[in-house]
């Protein structure tokens, strides 16, 4: 589903702050895989996400999504088949638009936005049903401004916005880091439910090793731009936090 071939990425080229992030990075992710990504600060986790989403472009190398070469495709064109949830709950939705308006825009992600009405009565039932699954009472708040919701609620809605049109790849960039423990649990459960029900290929960055082990069926540890550790299948199931913490110290 996702292929990164021989990726090179350098920041601040030709200056004293030059920083080489990736040197010949290769990563292949199969359809339906849920990959959790761990690694220290500066390991290149977010750069990896940004390369896949198209916010930044590699200096060398190629990126394929579902067989299509997207290396030079603009972020907004790639977004038609990539869903993304950011760490900051404020980033993923428009605060002055209502919940319904935000979700209606998300429903149009892979379409051209034309001159027919943006919010459709017919979609309302669909949205209510989707929100009911969340058990957060959001189904009654379709007319509320997004900015009035709590961080956890906003992140839940953003997750729905990212997946309501089934993406080929879902990118979760520490999407629970800004939430309290309760909301974190809730949003992670929702994430697991949605991705496993819809078999969405998912990449999730997290700093919480327990969650990295608990969720997903493959785990990748990045260190200085290199894949230090890549475990999947039954091996991952047997992985313990202790093993992983030890790996971190290397």
């Amino acid at each position: 589903m996702l292929k990164l071939n021989n990726i090179y990425k350098k920041f601040n080229t030709n200056s004293v702050d030059e920083k080489l992030i990736f040197e010949n990075l290769n990563l292949h992710i199969k359809k339906g895989e849920f990959v959790t990504i761990v690694g220290g600060n500066g390991a290149g986790k977010s750069t990896l996400m940004n390369l896949i989403s198209g916010s930044i472009f590699p200096d060398k190398g190629e990126i394929f999504i579902d067989g299509q070469n997207v290396t030079n495709l603009q972020e907004n064109k790639r977004a038609k088949f990539i869903g993304r949830v950011f760490q900051d709950p404020l980033k993923g939705s428009a605060p002055n638009l209502t919940v319904e308006e935000n979700l209606s825009l998300a429903l149009l992600r892979d379409k051209k936005r034309g001159l027919s009405f943006g919010v459709h009565r017919n979609n309302r039932e669909l949205l209510i049903n989707e929100l009911k699954n969340f058990n957060l009472g959001l189904e009654n708040r379709l007319d509320a401004k997004m900015g009035l919701l709590s961080g956890g609620q906003r992140q839940a809605v953003t997750l729905l916005m990212a997946t309501i049109v089934k993406p080929k790849i879902l990118l979760l960039d520490e999407h629970t880091a800004a939430l309290d423990p309760n909301s974190t649990k809730k949003v992670l459960e929702l994430t697991d439910k949605i991705t496993s029900n819809e078999h969405i290929t998912t990449l999730m960055i997290t700093h919480d090793l327990d969650n990295a082990i608990k969720f997903g069926n493959r785990l990748i540890m990045l260190n200085n731009g290199k894949i230090q550790f890549d475990i999947f299948g039954s091996d991952k199931k047997c992985l313990l936090n202790r093993n992983l913490s030890d790996m971190f110290k290397i």
């Binding site: 989403s53 977004a79 950011f86 939705s93 428009a94 998300a106 034309g114 027919s116 943006g118 919010v119």
Partner: protein, 296 residues
């Protein structure tokens, strides 16, 4: 009575400008200085066309189209050359100063004795014969109502919703597959074409076009918008866009009344701009002042 109607009609004509600025300032979150230039551009083009015998209504439409190009230029400066919004607008505005003089051939152009949209209305309806004030009022009312309806509908479409989202959170719009550059340029074009139409109507109503007629226009528009926002709480309407648009009209009329009052109280007309800037600054600052009070 005549004075009251005249104040109202002034307010209504300037509302068109305020609508234009509302689109950039409040919806797109883009402080677009182009408005001042495109207002004059609309006035100049309209004046030149009318003096050359072109139908005033057609001149009005051409002015709007020409002014939308000014918005296009600002949009390209900002989205493609990555120049900050305020500076992109200033660049286009300054360039338009020279262009406007080129268009008119001199610094101002009189429309005395020429056909205007107002004189057409005066001559076609017997009730309005030789009553400029009333026909300006009626025309302003018609145009503003039409604009409220169209803009309200437009901002409910998929494209309109996407423009609102772009102004609200650009990153979100991009990650939802939206081309935010296109949306910004489009909104700037719509906004500036409204400013151009406003300029054309202002030139026709005052009987001349002047290269300086746009100076301070953006502050007048902002004053109308922020005065109008005081009415937001008083109007009970579920439709937020419709409510905001109506408030802009009310704000614009209120602004004209305030101006009429202070002039009657003996204020020097050349101090009006200082007064407007002062009032606008205070009104824009009120929410923040309230916050400071709450803290202490």
């Amino acid at each position: 009575m005549q004075i009251l109607i005249s104040t109202f009609s002034q307010g209504l004509i300037w509302t068109i400008l305020a609508f234009g600025v509302f689109i950039t300032f409040r919806i797109l979150n883009f402080a677009d200085m182009t408005s001042e230039g495109s207002l004059t551009l609309g006035g100049s083009i309209c004046a030149v066309l009318i003096t050359n015998g072109v139908n005033p209504i057609i001149s009005l439409i051409i002015s709007g189209i020409a002014a939308s190009i000014a918005g296009l230029v600002t949009g390209i400066l900002h989205t493609k050359l990555k120049i900050q919004p305020i500076l992109s607008g200033i660049l286009t505005m300054i360039a338009l100063y020279s262009i406007n003089i080129r268009i008119m051939g001199k610094a101002n152009l009189s429309l005395l004795g020429k056909n205007t949209v107002f004189s057409i209305l005066e001559n076609s309806i017997s009730l309005l014969r030789d009553n400029f004030t009333l026909s300006a009022f009626i025309l302003g009312l018609i145009i503003c109502s039409l604009l409220i309806l169209t803009l309200n509908l437009f901002f409910k479409t998929q494209l309109g919703l996407a423009i609102r989202a772009t102004g609200d959170n650009e990153q979100m719009m991009r990650s939802q597959g939206g081309n935010t550059d296109f949306k910004k340029i489009f909104a700037l074009m719509v906004s500036n074409s409204l400013c151009g139409i406003a300029g054309a109507l202002i030139a026709q109503s005052q009987g001349y076009s002047d290269v300086n007629m746009g100076t301070g226009a953006i502050v007048i528009a902002l004053a109308s918008i922020v005065i109008g926002e005081a009415f937001l709480k008083l109007i009970k309407l579920k439709n937020k866009i419709l409510k905001s648009l109506i408030c802009v009209v009310l704000g614009s009329i209120c602004y004209r009344m305030i101006i009429f009052l202070v002039l009657n109280l003996g204020m020097n007309p050349s101090d009006l701009k200082l007064f407007t800037a002062f009032v606008t600054a205070i009104l824009l600052g009120i929410p923040h002042i309230n916050k400071l009070k709450l803290k202490s």
